[in-house]
């Protein structure tokens, strides 16, 4: 999207409030029917949740419509939806989503590998590497955004800096969970592998990794949450790369384009839920005692 004037000034066709409420009612009607027909997919509790959400959206729409709050500061959902549809239709949103997902996936993978490796090193092979622990603890308490300046100096302005900052946010929860997991390894389990002629590396593969699996998953869920929080800060340094939802939010904020800010916020929230659900899928892969 290089060279595009951002934010796109024309917003496309805007839904009228009446039209928007009509569509909402239609969706709600369809869901009610689905709830009757397929109660195990569209469950009653899901319906309750959606009803609350619907109520909030309708009130928000009306608040803007009657200008109870200045619609420039609180644009109505109909406007946000219209803008989102427009940005999607010109291919602009896809680019930003791709860019952000790319960075966060990259950072997450790095954090997972480095967090588990270093976590195992400082706890399982503890006598050799335990000196790292206090050093890492000191780094941990410094929030990732505080690294912005250093990141720019080290990696320049661009993707690498953003990935570095996101990585920092995800790395520590995973590291700590791996360390906590190793502490849960029981002596009998280690000795079992040793009696069968296994060595330290067999213990690592057969015992340590399965035991820390669930702990690391929990760490990964917390980590990805922090990752999404860090995206907006991290993409401050992506200016030259001119892409990402965080960058979109930052730039629109400066121009007081609240509608675009809201589109970005909505998408980050949505992608956050999706990423959490994906990690959750791995939960059942390795059984434990529960």
């Amino acid at each position: 999207m290089h060279g595009t004037v951002f934010p796109p000034l024309e917003i496309g066709e805007v839904l009228s409030t009446v039209h928007f409420l009509e569509i909402l009612s239609a969706i709600f009607l369809i869901l009610t029917v689905l709830n009757r027909l397929l109660p195990h997919i569209v469950s009653a509790s899901l319906m309750k949740g959606l009803a609350v959400l619907g109520g909030i959206i309708v009130s928000w729409e009306l608040i803007s419509f009657y200008e109870i709050i200045n619609p420039v500061l609180l644009p109505p959902p109909s406007r946000v939806v219209s803008l989102m549809a427009h940005l999607w239709s010109i291919g602009f949103l896809q680019t930003q989503i791709y860019s952000t997902v790319y960075k966060i996936t990259y950072a997450f993978t790095l954090a997972l590998v480095s967090g588990v490796t270093i976590g195992i090193m400082i706890s399982y092979f503890s006598n050799t590497f335990s000196f790292l622990e206090s050093f890492l603890n000191a780094i941990r308490v410094v929030p990732a955004p505080a690294w912005l300046a250093l990141a720019i100096l080290w990696f320049g302005i661009g993707h690498a800096s953003a990935i570095f900052i996101i990585w920092l946010g995800i790395f520590f929860p995973i590291l700590l969970s791996a360390v906590a997991g190793v502490a849960k390894v029981e002596q009998v389990q280690v000795e079992t592998v040793l009696t069968f002629g296994g060595d330290k590396y067999d213990v690592l593969l057969e015992v340590v990794l399965p035991v820390i699996y669930h702990h690391v998953l929990t760490g990964a869920r917390i980590g990805i949450g922090i990752g999404w929080i860090t995206v907006v800060t991290a993409e401050l340094v992506s200016v030259s790369a001119n892409s990402g939802l965080g960058w979109m939010i930052n730039d629109s904020r400066i121009l007081l384009d609240i509608t675009t800010v809201m589109v970005g916020m909505f998408l980050i929230g949505f992608l956050g839920i999706v990423s959490d659900a994906i990690i959750n899928r791995f939960e059942g892969l390795v059984p434990g005692w529960d």
Partner: protein
Amino acid sequence: MAMRGETDKRFGPGSHVVEIKDIKKSFYVYVDEGQTVLSEKRRWFSRKKPGELVAIKSFTLDVDHGEFVALLGPSGCGKSTLLRILAGFETPTSGFVTFKGNAINGPDPQRAMVFQSERAVFPWLTVEGNIGLGPKLQGMGKKARKEAVAKTIELVELKGFERAYPKTLSGGMLQRVAVARAIVNHPELLLMDEPFGALDAQTRNHLQDHVVKIWQSIEQTIIFVTHDIEEAVYLANKVVVFTARPGEIKEVVSINLPHPRDRTSEEFIGLRNHCTRLIRDKHPEG
């Protein structure tokens, strides 16, 4: 006798599988004024003094091939410690222990261990996976492994549960998995540390019969730790009665009753009472 080359040649059929010669095992712990053992680790601000805790002392025992030895004694007398020395997880403070004529240094697949804790069965592996762990670690091929595992599963009567995870099994079944996992490689020596301690009486009796069956079907030596007198007399042909800590041998009782044994027979009750008296001797107050 401590020389390796020498003793190696002496080992043959009929000679001892395990030789325990005058061993002593002490742990270094920290004690307070009342001489109570507090912890293995000393905090830098604590005023507790380092002390020595003698778990086993002047212990000598030979075990022959095919014997079923029960180690019987009160809690804390060092039974597990002795078993851990035989498994190779601990080294005696003095004296020496040999296995087939060689000094024991470290664990060995030829000396398999059934741990007391049910956590020793890996919850992340199926019954099949747990039992196949030993063969896998010894680099047995997939096909041979499957065969060995299937055979053992049949032996411990767990057929139909190959794919089950430990958390779906009963306590008795878990212990059978633990036993199966230890015997699948046909170890020379099977070490069992109170394997049925946590089970109800009925399940325990059932599993005792299992162990006898396994012992009879696979030619192997078993050393079995228990503090249940009846269990020791029911299973073993040699019951080693410990004194209270520090554990020494009080008496080695030979049980020359054929299997299956009748718990209500006169000889059985007589031997059981004999062992009970031996154990009670040391605790006149209990």
